[in-house]
């Protein structure tokens, strides 16, 4: 049973990690807690669902198309809301409240257009095969999600550390004004960051939709809570931290069920979050004073 629970923990954690990845990126570079990330996560899932059910597109086209769509929604939010607030030098709280509004708008629009019931991809579109290793079963799809989120994490870290783009982004995380003085096209890179972050969030939604009967207008909200927990655990704005924070949260939840009781699962995992804030407010990986993207 324990081996199975460890597998369960990693697969749950990797979903949280994938969601947290885009979430933390926006915070690290734009310095904004984007609470519409849950809404983008939901729209990504709907976009893929509609492309597949309405236009009969194969998954390998629908998936990237839905990723791009979520990215564009993120870009739109950046251009319409965040850019204006940046220009006015608005305090931290304003983009946070504005993005809550964007999330409510997305949720109600989706509910109005498609109804409130949960859906999933048509059965022939998802793979319910499992890998059997002794007494442990691993759904292939879950293995795929775990692999994908690890690949995306490594890719993001590589881009940030090793490329000129990454250098520019890290400079912006340090000080957008200094970066602009050095000739970095700050606005454009802000847009790019919003696009990438939203595409990652949308991908998480698509993958959740592939694994579970869970595509509903309200699917973003619980995920947002877990995502916030994951990035606080890992260290706000830290890509490595988001992934490890997500995994850590998944492991905590599963072990709370295994060794305690499912009644106390959320109490334990969010209690732990509270302790973390007291003991290491910068999170597992965050450096105390400097922001690292």
């Amino acid at each position: 049973m324990l081996a199975q629970q460890i597998v369960n923990a990693i697969s749950l954690g990797s979903v949280y990690a994938l969601f947290a990845l885009g979430f933390t990126l926006v915070f690290g570079i734009l310095g904004v807690i984007n609470l519409s990330h849950g809404g983008i996560f939901m729209l990504g899932a709907y976009a893929a669902l509609l492309l597949i059910t309405w236009f009969d597109l194969p998954l390998w086209i629908a998936l990237p198309a839905a990723m791009v769509f979520s990215g564009l929604v993120g870009l739109l939010i950046d251009v319409l809301i965040l850019k204006r607030l940046r220009r006015r030098n608005a305090p931290h709280l304003m983009p946070m409240i504005a993005t809550i509004g964007a999330a409510i708008l997305m949720t109600s629009l989706t509910q109005g257009l498609f109804g409130s019931e949960a859906r999933r991809f048509p059965v022939e579109w998802f793979n319910d095969e499992t890998l059997k290793l002794g007494a442990v079963t691993i759904p292939l799809l879950q293995a795929g999600i775990t692999t994908l989120s690890l690949v995306l994490m490594v890719l993001m870290m590589w881009v940030l550390k090793r490329t000129r783009l990454g250098q520019a982004l890290r400079a912006m995380a340090e000080s957008p004004r200094a970066a602009a003085l050095l000739g970095i096209p700050v606005e454009r890179l802000f847009h790019l960051t919003s696009f990438i972050a939203a595409a990652l969030g949308g991908t998480a939604g698509i993958l959740i939709g592939l694994s579970f009967n869970a595509i509903s207008p309200f699917m973003g909200q619980p995920m947002l809570h877990k995502g916030i927990a994951a990035i606080i655990l890992g260290g706000l704005g830290d890509v490595r931290g988001a992934v490890l924070g997500g995994l850590f949260l998944g492991i905590t939840e599963v072990f709370a069920v295994t060794f305690l009781s499912s009644e106390y699962r959320d109490a334990l995992s969010f209690g732990l979050l509270f302790l973390m804030l007291l003991w290491r407010p910068q999170g597992l990986f965050g450096a105390s004073a400097t922001r690292s993207a």
């Binding site: 049973m1 199975q4 629970q5 369960n8 923990a9 697969s11 749950l12 979903v15 409130s116 019931e117 949960a118 999933r120 059965v123 319910d128 499992t130 079963t137 759904p139 959740i208 694994s211 579970f212 009967n213 869970a214 509903s216 309200f218 699917m219 909200q221 619980p222 995920m223 939840e253 599963v254 069920v257 295994t258 009781s261 499912s262 009644e263 699962r265 959320d266």
Partner: protein, 384 residues
């Protein structure tokens, strides 16, 4: 203006504006259902059932020549709205009685208004315990979960030879929590031990940790008083984890969606319901065919209960003579209803007086034997 002065003022206003609220040859009945919002998935099929029954009754000459008129209102599945709609129907539209509201919560809020105005409030979809404790003017033809669950359990225990069970349910939702309480009590009465109880929260999609634990506890069956959305995920994930046991569901499992989504993972699932689409009785087959013809979709349990409810009241109306004095007519209907029996789309139906609650007389509950289904080859079939 203080709120408590509102009803008399409204009554006065409407008396001035509507001198002929009830035309000769018309029987005005209120229908308050959730037609928009999340609860509309129940409210709309209920309304469809009522409209079908109304057309059939009126086409056959109505009630002794009088036509039934349904005054339809949208209570949006909200308590506050149900109260407003009830006040409007009672004092402004001056209806003879009211059907609805859709959710038990709303009936708890609006029922007392009808009861104190001495107007019959008739629920067709309220399954919570205690609804009819509101008072003698409250009726329902929807059996309580507490009536359905023991029947379901007994049938399942016999069929699957169950000695011990595991339970998984959502502990932060009033509906699933009350389903759990009903199951727990029924299990105690049947002396079936629970080897493991697991919970989840609203919005969870991954139940593998809880299910792995349930699997290790090795129950003979798993009880899941869940909604069909989570239920389908739970079924799919348990099969992926190699759990072979059958699931037993509550009212929430009573949905074609369950099989549609979970497919083969739903095989062997047992649920109880007051209505069975495969019931070969002529009333039921007629209802299904007429519903399909009128709406182009299949009816569900809720439409069948709405359809039957109007026939129950029609029977009562045939037995009384309407005088045109609203208070007298309302009281006459209330007095005639408890003795009505019909054979409808949901089968044989009679009322059962609710026991007095806290020294006050209660209303009338449904006295009806539920059907127990099992999922076989992707279809709900009657468990023999």
């Amino acid at each position: 203006m203080r709120p408590y002065t509102l009803p008399p003022v409204l009554a006065l206003l409407s008396a001035l504006l509507l001198p002929l609220a009830s035309h000769a040859g018309e029987i005005r009945i209120g229908l308050a259902e959730a037609l928009t919002g999340p609860a509309s998935q129940y409210g709309v099929p209920i309304q469809n059932g009522f409209l079908l029954a109304r057309d059939e009754i009126n086409a056959k000459g109505g009630i002794n020549g009088d036509k039934i008129v349904l005054v339809e209102e949208d209570e949006r599945g909200k308590k506050e709205e149900a109260i407003n709609v009830y006040k409007k129907l009672i004092y402004q539209d001056k209806v003879l009685m009211i059907f609805g509201p859709t959710l038990s919560n709303s009936m708890f809020a609006a029922g007392p208004i009808a009861n104190s105005a001495k107007v019959v409030a008739f629920g067709t979809s309220n399954t919570a315990t205690g609804i009819t404790d509101i008072g003698p003017y409250i009726f329902r033809n929807s059996p309580m979960e507490a009536d359905v669950v023991p029947v379901t359990l007994r049938a399942a225990i016999k069929h699957l030879n169950i000695h011990k069970v595991g339970i998984i349910y959502g502990n932060d939702d009033a509906f699933t929590k009350s389903g759990y309480d009903v199951f727990k009590q029924a299990l105690e009465e049947l002396h079936i031990p629970v080897v493991d109880t697991e919970t989840y929260s609203k919005g969870d999609v991954d139940f593998k940790a809880q299910l792995t634990k349930l699997k290790a506890a090795d129950p003979d069956a798993i009880i899941c008083p869940c909604l069909s959305e989570e239920g389908s995920n739970i079924l799919l994930q348990s099969r992926a984890l190699g759990i072979k046991q059958s699931f037993i569901g509550g009212n929430g499992f009573n949905s074609p969606k369950l099989v549609e989504i979970a497919k083969s993972a739903a095989e062997g699932t047992i649920v109880g319901s007051p209505w069975f689409d495969g019931n070969p009785s002529s009333q039921n087959q007629h209802f299904i065919a007429a519903y399909r013809k009128k709406y182009g979709t299949d009816p569900n349990q809720f439409s069948a209960q709405g359809y039957d409810a109007l026939f129950i009241v029609a029977e009562a109306l045939k037995k009384i003579k309407l005088t045109g004095h609203l208070d007298q007519d309302r009281q006459a209907l209330r007095d005639a209803l408890p003795n009505i029996q019909i054979d409808g789309a949901t089968g044989k139906f009679a009322f059962r007086p609710a026991p007095p609650h806290a020294g006050k007389p209660g209303g009338n509950d449904a006295n009806q034997t539920p059907f127990v289904y099992i999922v076989k080859n992707g279809k709900f079939v009657l468990l023999k």
